[in-house]
Symmetry: C2
Subunit: 255 residues, 2 copies
DNA sequence: GAAATAGTGTCTATGAGACAATATAGC
DNA sequence: GCTATATTGTCTCATAGACACTATTTC
């Protein structure tokens, strides 16, 4: 154990890491009906999944789900495995974003933590929230989570993850990870606002449908006979359904 | 050595990593005078620094500079230390971009490599290229480097690094890392083109100077008396000098 | 005046941004 | 008809993109 694979390597007497965990910031967007109105846009909120630690260190504190990488897998495979063990979901958007290696960050030893963001649709986690271990696993609003004392340096990790998805929400099409295949533009707008409360575009519909440079990221959903598909789930007047294309524009600050 | 810091940790019988190297993709842009013309724009080329390995494994192959992280430092501190040892430069732009952890990627054992991009001005490396170890250290055009067989998975790392700086060249102001404090718009344009050969903007000057949304990333350089500063280093007619402001716009695919 | 790069004029089409106005369907 | 959301009309101004033209200095 912990011997080097062979002796050609002069660093074999060096101290080596005690582990390389992957930690996963699992985000979801919950919808809740607004009281009163019958057909009204639901309130959407960005939430993060945390686990209450059962043992030393940081026993009793909330922490990000995660686990140790094995020598037979990549850190990404580890994250995907832990994600499935923890939430039962697979095939979700998982994105590596940083490594945390500050000496002393883990009292158990020299641990290099690899942090991922996972984006999960609310429906995927539906069963989870009512499971027996509900007390140890919580889905909580991000504003609440960043206000808590978390285990290890998980608060920094969470803040970095948040920053990360805010940037990527605006520069990539990850909004699709929180939406059904076909959605209305109000839904899209709400998803963006759930992640970035300050996002405000008065003419949102105008822009995403008519802008030449951005045209191409969205297309109208049509049924078998070619008629535009609409939905009146959230409105009296049916709204046009859209879907993301697989085109992703290249942004530039220079033009 | 390699014992866990304490016994509370149930994973203490697991295999642990054999090392966590940092590898650094050091980019620079070289300028060379074009033959013939007296005052002409130099040719700028993106180059990468590679080191010829002297020992097993991959002896004789070119590799990215790097080295092992110590338990008393972060992987970033390791990268910065290695960068200085290797090139003598400090205070340069250094950016972490990915971890490489595929089992078997390093025949010496279970190594998790943390990859960085460093952006260095040509002048910083000037002394280095004529040093004694010139045969072991090379600054070579990136097109050449990606065509070579490199040690470990360094070719993948290099390709990823290239993709990374191409995106960041267009979405952030890292172009400043390759330019003097004050520069002409032709120089800026050339730097962008050295990194992204396909970048073409006919009205480059127009855009960066007159666009409201982008206005703010650049400002005209002025001398003590408030007069605009110009340079005729590369042209007969003097060109206005600019500098980057510290404003960095937030791009969005939605408007 | 030729060379070499810097910068402007001009024209057209399109987009941004603001808001008012109208449309649709359920209640 | 009221409500709540969806969508279009309209107007103004700024920008994109193309390309010809003028400017400035050195040789």
């Amino acid at each position: 154990m912990n011997e080097h694979a062979n002796g050609h390597y002069s660093a074999s007497s060096y101290r080596t890491p005690d582990g390389a965990p992957s930690d996963i910031v699992i985000f979801t967007i919950t919808s809740s009906e607004r009281a009163g109105a019958k057909k009204a846009l639901p309130t959407r909120r960005l939430e993060v999944l945390l686990i209450k630690r059962q043992k030393w260190p940081f026993e009793g504190l909330w922490a990000l789900p995660g686990g140790f990488t094995k020598e037979t897998e990549t850190v990404e495979e580890c994250a995907r495995r832990e994600l499935e063990e923890e939430t039962g979901v697979s095939d979700v958007h998982l994105e590596y974003f940083n490594v945390y290696s500050k000496p002393g960050r883990d009292p158990r030893g020299w641990m290099l933590s690899h942090a991922f963001v996972a984006l999960v649709r609310e429906s995927f986690l539906a069963g989870r929230r009512t499971s027996d271990e509900a007390a140890d696993v919580a889905l909580m609003p991000v504003e609440d989570a960043v206000g808590l004392e978390l285990a290890f340096d998980h608060r920094s990790i969470l803040e970095d993850a948040l920053e990360r998805i805010r940037v990527r929400m605006l520069t990539t099409t990850i909004a699709k990870e929180f939406l059904p295949e076909e959605f209305t533009l109000s839904e899209l707008y709400q998803v963006i606002r759930a992640v970035i409360p300050s996002f405000e575009e008065r003419n949102f519909i105008r822009k995403v449908t008519s802008t030449q440079s951005r045209k191409g990221i969205l297309e109208e959903a049509r049924d078998a006979s070619g008629e535009p598909k609409t939905s009146n789930r959230y409105s009296q007047r049916p709204a046009q359904l859209y879907r993301f294309t697989d085109y992703s524009p290249m942004l530039s600050i220079y033009g």
